[in-house]
């Protein structure tokens, strides 16, 4: 079943279109990578899906529902959760508060307990303010916060940016396990190779458009892809 369906989406700020006509689909329990260089429009794509970009048109559906007609705060109710690239936790709230504050959760206490089980590092510091957490802990908290609503899909904007290499592996490991708990993931990543390695499918963005797409395997094998976007890593 198709969760996210984006067709011919155009989005941007002010007079300028950053995303200039994109088609993307994410199916149930699927990991999809969106790769692309700096300035290709990756972050704008993510923000547009969440309704944080002033202008956005085209088709944007989730589970058949029109996201464009919804306010940002309503979009998570249809089953999409978002982890922004930076500032993805509430720094002055404690870990528990960061989880409590999420709206649309059936049984907060139980769900928080589940999350703390899932991320044991957080459990030990549940009363600590998020601003005191390490980069890795923050990322875990951000994941936990996003998972609170039991989303059908996680939208991850560069989840490994500014993390140390061993943490990067950890994050990808976490993402890889998502389908097992029934969650699809749309991963926006600059580390395209690593991301594609755990993905089912992928898209490559350039100047606001998807220039390549296909199964992750095929993309990894594509010579042009390797040249332009995968680099040596």
């Amino acid at each position: 079943m198709t969760l996210l369906a984006i067709e011919q989406m155009v989005a941007g700020y002010g007079e300028i279109d950053i995303v200039t006509g994109i088609d993307i689909a994410v199916h149930e329990k699927e990991i999809v990578t969106v790769a692309g260089t700096n300035g290709a429009g990756k972050s704008t794509l993510a923000k547009a899906i969440m309704g944080l970009v002033p202008r956005c048109r085209g088709v944007l559906r989730f589970c058949g529902e029109d996201l464009l007609a919804m306010r940002p705060e309503d979009r998570i109710k249809v089953g999409v959760a978002y982890v922004p690239q930076v500032e993805n936790v509430f720094p002055s709230l404690t870990i528990v508060e960061n989880l409590q504050v999420v709206v649309g959760v059936q049984n907060h206490a139980a769900r928080i307990a589940e999350m703390l089980d899932l991320f044991p590092a957080l459990a030990a510091r549940r009363r600590v303010r998020a601003e005191a957490l390490s980069g890795g802990e923050r990322q875990q908290l951000a994941f936990a916060r996003a998972l609170m609503t039991q989303p059908k899909m996680m939208l991850l904007d560069e989840p490994t940016a500014a993390l140390s290499p061993n943490l990067v592996a950890q994050v990808f490991d976490t993402i890889r396990k998502l389908p097992a708990i029934g969650v699809a993931a749309l991963v926006i990543e600059q580390r395209a190779r690593q991301s594609l390695e755990i993905s089912d499918r992928g898209y490559v963005l350039d100047s606001g458009k998807a220039v390549m797409s296909g199964a992750a395997r095929d993309l990894l094998a594509d010579a042009r892809m390797a040249d332009l976007y995968l680099g040596g890593a």
């Binding site: 969440m50 309704g51 944080l52 306010r71 940002p72 705060e73 309503d74 979009r75 998570i76 109710k77 978002y82 922004p84 500032e87 993805n88 936790v89 509430f90 720094p91 002055s92 709230l93 508060e97 409590q100 504050v101 999420v102 709206v103 649309g104 601003e131 916060r145 609503t149």
Partner: protein, 291 residues
Amino acid sequence: MNAALFFNLLLNGVIEGLIIGLAALALNLVFAVARFPNTATGDIMTVGAYAGIAVQGLGISSTVLQMLAAVVVCMALCVVLYRLVFRRLQGRSMLAVLLASIGLAFIIRAAVFLIAGPEQRVFQIPLQRAIDIGGVALQPSMLWLAVTAFGCMAVVFAVLFLTPIGRRMRAVADNRALARTSGIDVDRVMVALWLLTGAVCGVAGMVLGINTVVMPENGWNILLPAFAAAVLGGVGSPVGAIVAGLALGIVQELSTPFVGFTYKIALSFVALIVILAIRPRGLFGAAVKVR
């Protein structure tokens, strides 16, 4: 400075400080969540005091009921201001909102002048004599002032830190976009914030009115020291607001034997400038990012 004088000045500082602190508390809330110095705070307080006076004019002499009226009127006014102006300015620069709040302050004050006239009003509250303990004048009404101020602080603290809506307010204060994508209805949070702010303004206006006289410029006159206290107290800290208000009040009064009575009012600004020069985030300020 002998001991009696010292304690008298200290107590006077506490009285002034609590009044300033209450106004700072109202400023602080908006400062933290809506992220601008709300210049209209003082004039909203004035409206509250006049609401209390109006209730008194109906023959109701209960201060509690008068204060209730002040609180309700200020809450309504704040929500109206939010709906009409501040909500439309979401996403605009801090300066834009600040300027709009100055404009609103002017409009509110003009309206108070036009409706109530320039003459002073007073709350008819039976006065009590101070109790003299070794030359130190203890004012029974001080107790009420302290109870009110700390009560207000406790309520605001409780709302912010112990209730879901308070948690959401803090979340919005931290990161509005993230709050929205966490499913928080920012508009409802802001309405709640303005209701809370209005309630504090109502209490602060009444407290100021009871301790002084009620005039159209009352609230405006207390705005600058309240700003100083709000900044020193640190954004988003109700305890900080009251404590900074108290600190400024006490420092100001204790300074009078040395700097005299005209320079004492410059002291809160000097303190503000000196402290910000050393700690650009304020005395109790958390690590709020420069936007």
